[in-house]
């Protein structure tokens, strides 16, 4: 607990006050004498968190998903992926740090891990373009996924991106083509694939590593065709707190919404007050979930998997047939 200290989201203000008081008491040399007060404050902090997080608006969830202390792909790899061997480069152009790929062990499984990485320090975040991958990132992901299929390793992808990077270089090097090819090739990749949206699931940049047999979301992650700000700027002509909040609501981007729409298969519960408050607990919940998913998908043969994966995406969407003539 307490790792989020100092970075409270706007809606968390009342909790932040309590946390300050708890911290001050804990810092006292005679803290032991204050234990019952600390316990009382902690209990009311937890009750308040439960209440706040039980009634989050979609736009608040987006903020939780973007919390600077929220665990990222590299944190989860450190937490539960043993003997991790990062594999760099797309063998075409370069190595995009915004997508990490590598071999490792999760539970009893040898797997390939693929995940967006945003970076923690300012320097890392700039290097990772804040989690916005370039075409070489998507091409690296695909090249390593093909290796995984060749050697019969399941693939685990962790999605956490505001979107693919919009820039001159990425366009010149075929951002659209790179994502499109990933969608096509992942749909027929003859090995199990499980995906979890761990933070932000921004549009094609997220889907570019998200065509999987099972797709799940962390409780406070978001997944949508566009960010609330992007949507607000287009449909409301201006992105501000109010329109962003409206757009976030309209886009049905929360885990619960995506579950209802059939876009994801399950939701991974987060610690009280979000993954950033207890990254270790978040990691163990995610690990458990991934192992369960791997257990169920590795039972199927690759041919059946690919067949079912096709059907999974084929039926998504709502269409009707008009009475004849339309």
């Amino acid at each position: 607990m307490g790792t989020s200290a100092g970075i409270a989201l706007p809606f968390e203000a009342p909790v932040a006050d309590l946390e300050d008081q708890i911290r001050q008491l804990e810092a006292r040399p005679d803290a032991a004498d204050w234990q019952s007060d600390i316990d009382t404050l902690t209990a009311s902090r937890d009750a308040m968190l439960a209440k706040l997080y039980g009634n989050l608006e979609p736009w608040d969830m987006v903020k939780v998903a973007r919390h600077p202390n929220r665990p990222q792909t590299a944190d989860y790899i450190n937490a539960f992926c043993r003997d991790f061997r990062e594999l760099h480069g797309d063998r075409r152009y370069g190595d995009d740090p915004a997508i990490i790929t590598g071999l490792g062990r999760i539970g009893p499984y040898k797997v390939l891990v693929v995940g967006h990485q945003k970076g923690r320090t300012t320097e890392e975040r700039i290097k990772c373009h804040f989690g916005c991958a370039h075409p070489e990132g998507y091409r690296k992901a695909l090249a390593k996924m093909k290796l995984a299929a060749k050697y019969g390793l399941p693939v685990v992808t962790l999605i956490d991106t505001p979107g693919a990077y919009p820039g001159i270089g990425p366009e010149e090097r075929g951002q659209a083509e790179a994502i499109a090819v990933n969608l096509l090739e992942m749909s027929r990749l003859a090995t199990p694939i499980v995906s979890v949206v761990i933070g932000e699931g921004g549009s094609g940049g997220a889907l570019g590593i998200g065509v999987a047999d099972r797709v799940d979301m962390m409780q406070y992650a978001w997944y949508s065709v566009i960010s609330p700000e992007g949507c607000a700027a287009i449909l409301w002509k201006e992105a501000n707190e109010e329109t962003n909040s409206n757009a976030a609501k309209s886009l049905k981007l929360t885990a619960a919404d995506n579950l209802e729409l059939g876009i994801v298969d399950g939701v991974v519960e987060e610690p009280l007050g979000g993954a950033h408050r207890d990254p270790a607990l978040a990691a163990s919940k995610l690990e458990r979930h991934i192992i369960d998913r791997l257990e169920s998908v590795t039972r199927l043969n690759p041919k059946t998997l690919v067949e079912q994966r096709y059907e999974r995406f084929r039926r998504l969407g709502e269409v009707h047939e008009l009475a004849s003539g339309g």
Partner: protein, 283 residues
């Protein structure tokens, strides 16, 4: 192809065959390409391409089909397939109202038309997008129709021709429209698995989720001159990098030099290009 052509066409025929449409307000317009003042009728008789500067105007799905198909051979399917409003999406307008307005404006149910037709006597499956319909955006119905067309191409071993013209995914269907990218790409994987031919034709504009799915997956990718083609829109890129974009950036010719378009093809040659590729592919 074993199918018998209804009759053969020369490319010259195309130029005079464009249907006469009622001229909307004014008989004249100024070309955005060269500022020439053009008689609208002249434009209609030249495939909506400026005779002065070759500026390619955006055209409707119907006009496109008429330009590419042997006359009278297009048979539309799935014209009654429409999307719903699964998200009950509301912005400043309601999504069903936007759909209704688009239907009224275009006289068509959705942003893509699919069907079978003949190109110089060769039977093909067409999917032609219509930018006038909510910016050619891809929602559930567009994804479904393109997936069905692709599956039909695979089942009947017919060449698939998709003419794209789209601003990308349809925001009002959010995650479900995003999923259409996966759906259409997966269908194309299956077409590829059975050795099917897919010719992707990119026209102005082709951006966003359409580019990042089926449009960029053609065995052969053709583009009309000067079409805007990209993943991110130029405005978004400009805002992100805070610098001006290079001349010709994200235009067809730019994509060809960067290796993402096989051929930039003038509208008047598109028909013969397509038929020639089908011939080389032995379909």
């Amino acid at each position: 192809m074993s199918s018998t052509p209804p009759r053969s066409w020369t490319d010259d025929d195309v130029q005079t065959a464009t249907r006469k449409k009622p001229v909307p307000e004014g008989l004249w317009l100024q070309c955005p390409g060269c500022s020439a003042i053009l008689f609208k009728r002249t434009l209609e008789n030249s495939l909506s391409v400026c005779p002065e500067c070759r500026h390619h105007y955006r055209i409707s799905a119907d006009d496109r089909i008429e330009q590419l198909c042997d006359p009278g051979t297009f048979v539309e399917f799935d014209s009654d397939v429409v999307g719903g409003d699964p998200l009950h999406f509301e912005d400043v307008k309601k999504y069903p109202d936007r759909l209704q307005a688009a239907r009224k404006k275009t006289g068509t149910n959705e942003a893509v038309k699919t069907g079978t037709g003949f190109v110089k006597g060769r039977k093909v499956i067409f999917a032609v997008m219509d930018f006038r319909f909510l910016g050619g955006s891809m929602g559930s119905a567009v994804g479904e129709k393109i997936a069905r067309a692709t599956e039909a191409a695979a089942a009947e071993d017919l060449p698939l021709i998709v003419v794209s013209s789209s601003g990308g995914a349809r925001m009002m269907e959010s995650g479900l429209s995003l999923m259409q990218m996966a759906k259409t790409s997966a269908a194309l994987a299956r077409l590829d698995d059975v050795g099917g031919l897919f010719i992707s034709v990119l026209t102005d504009p082709t951006t966003g989720g359409v580019t990042a799915s089926f449009a960029m997956l053609g065995d052969f990718i053709l583009a009309e001159p000067q079409a805007l083609i990209g993943f991110a829109g130029p405005r978004v890129i400009k805002q992100t990098i805070r610098q001006d974009l290079p001349e010709g950036f994200q235009r067809s010719e730019f994509l060809q030099t960067r290796g993402f378009v096989d051929r930039v093809v003038d509208r008047k040659d598109l028909r013969s290009e397509i038929s020639s590729i089908i011939d080389y592919a032995g379909k």
